[in-house]
Symmetry: C2
DNA sequence: CACCCATAGGTACGGCCGTACACATGTAAT
DNA sequence: ATTACATGTGTACGGCCGTACCTATGGGTG
């Protein structure tokens, strides 16, 4: 479907996009911003690049976001919420600690999403959070949700250690580009869980 | 009378640095660049900012570094080497696995690995590495050295898991800003090394 | 229908950026 | 002492940036 389909009577003027009345443009811009961050880092993210990637005029950026900070905050909030949602769901589907262990192993070793994209954005988020308190509310909420999800199956201290192990193994996998051996990961998780 | 002749006898003229012949300027610039990255992120790092922080003229940047990429690469290489040196040394000083465990606990809960400056730069490095293969050689070398250091005391698989746990716990500590309880950390490390 | 204003679109301005480059100067070799 | 070269310094240029601001438009409401 082309942009001109809605334009039944008059025909499409040459070179003129027909995007008037685009109700979830702001939502779409946040998603596109996240993709741009993943590809170019925060350092390479600009209003112009996001606008171009979303096929939207530059002015739309300043209309929907008060400034660069608001755009970044919205994008990273979405990243954290999506990741926490996925983790929550995995933990909720597990009915026993044994199933939870298997779910965790699957998350670490599996290829749930384009690992690369999410990882780049995640590290950018950590770096920003370490520097700016208002961003830290995002990471704090994310960490709290992860721990709560784990505490459905494990003791608080165990949940904390598991969370750290997951984080570390994910980093190793992302940076080494090699798949983590399932047996090794399962062994590690089981050692932490064993009490 | 030229400004330089005026100060011949008196020493430092007002407003004029006497920095000609500064043999380790390049080394100093790398350190300063790392500090700037830690404070402003890669996104906020520029030749001008580094030059100002090092009290060096802008032209000195392009003289000592072929471009921004070379500066970043040099800075992150230094970061990785310093961190790996510290970890190596801690592992070498431990004579038994038990001492090694205590050394690891000390690193995680202590102040050595957790300088905010180092953490911010580390996440920026990870993000860059996930995006650019030539930067990944830095992280690969770092990871390899860490694992080799751990393998002085533990089995390869155990070393891998320990490395991941250390990474994850360090992140947690850095983002939560709260000190990690020593007993919890020791418990986690001991569970991983227990065979 | 007529109106209004939330949304869309275009453009200009001042600023910081990387980089190039011409020039200055100190050092070491002859 | 002269020279050659490595290093240091200042400045200018073109480009991308965030943002402000003005205009256009069309959907919902009376």
């Amino acid at each position: 479907m082309t942009p001109s389909s809605a334009n039944a009577a008059t025909g499409t003027p040459p070179g003129h996009r027909q995007r008037r009345h685009d109700p979830d443009r702001r939502e779409r811009l946040i998603d596109v911003a996240l993709a741009v961050i993943a590809e170019h880092g925060v350092a390479g993210t600009s209003h112009r690049r996001v606008a171009a990637a979303a096929e939207v005029p530059l002015g739309s950026m300043t209309y929907h976001f008060a400034g660069m900070d608001e755009l970044l905050e919205a994008a990273f909030t979405r990243l954290a919420e999506h990741a926490a949602d996925a983790f929550d769901q995995a933990m909720m589907q597990a009915r026993t600690p044994v199933e939870a262990v298997e779910a965790i192993v699957g998350l670490i070793t599996g290829t749930v999403l384009n690992r690369r994209e999410a990882m780049v954005a995640t590290y950018e988020l950590y770096s920003l959070a370490a520097r700016r308190p208002e961003i830290r509310t995002i990471t704090n909420a994310w960490m709290a949700r992860s721990r709560r999800a784990l505490e459905r199956h494990f003791e608080p201290d165990t949940a904390l250690m598991l969370d750290a192990l997951i984080e570390g193994l994910t980093i190793h996998r992302a940076l080494s580009l090699k798949p983590m051996p399932v047996s090794t990961v399962r062994e590690a998780v089981q050692r932490i869980v064993a009490s």
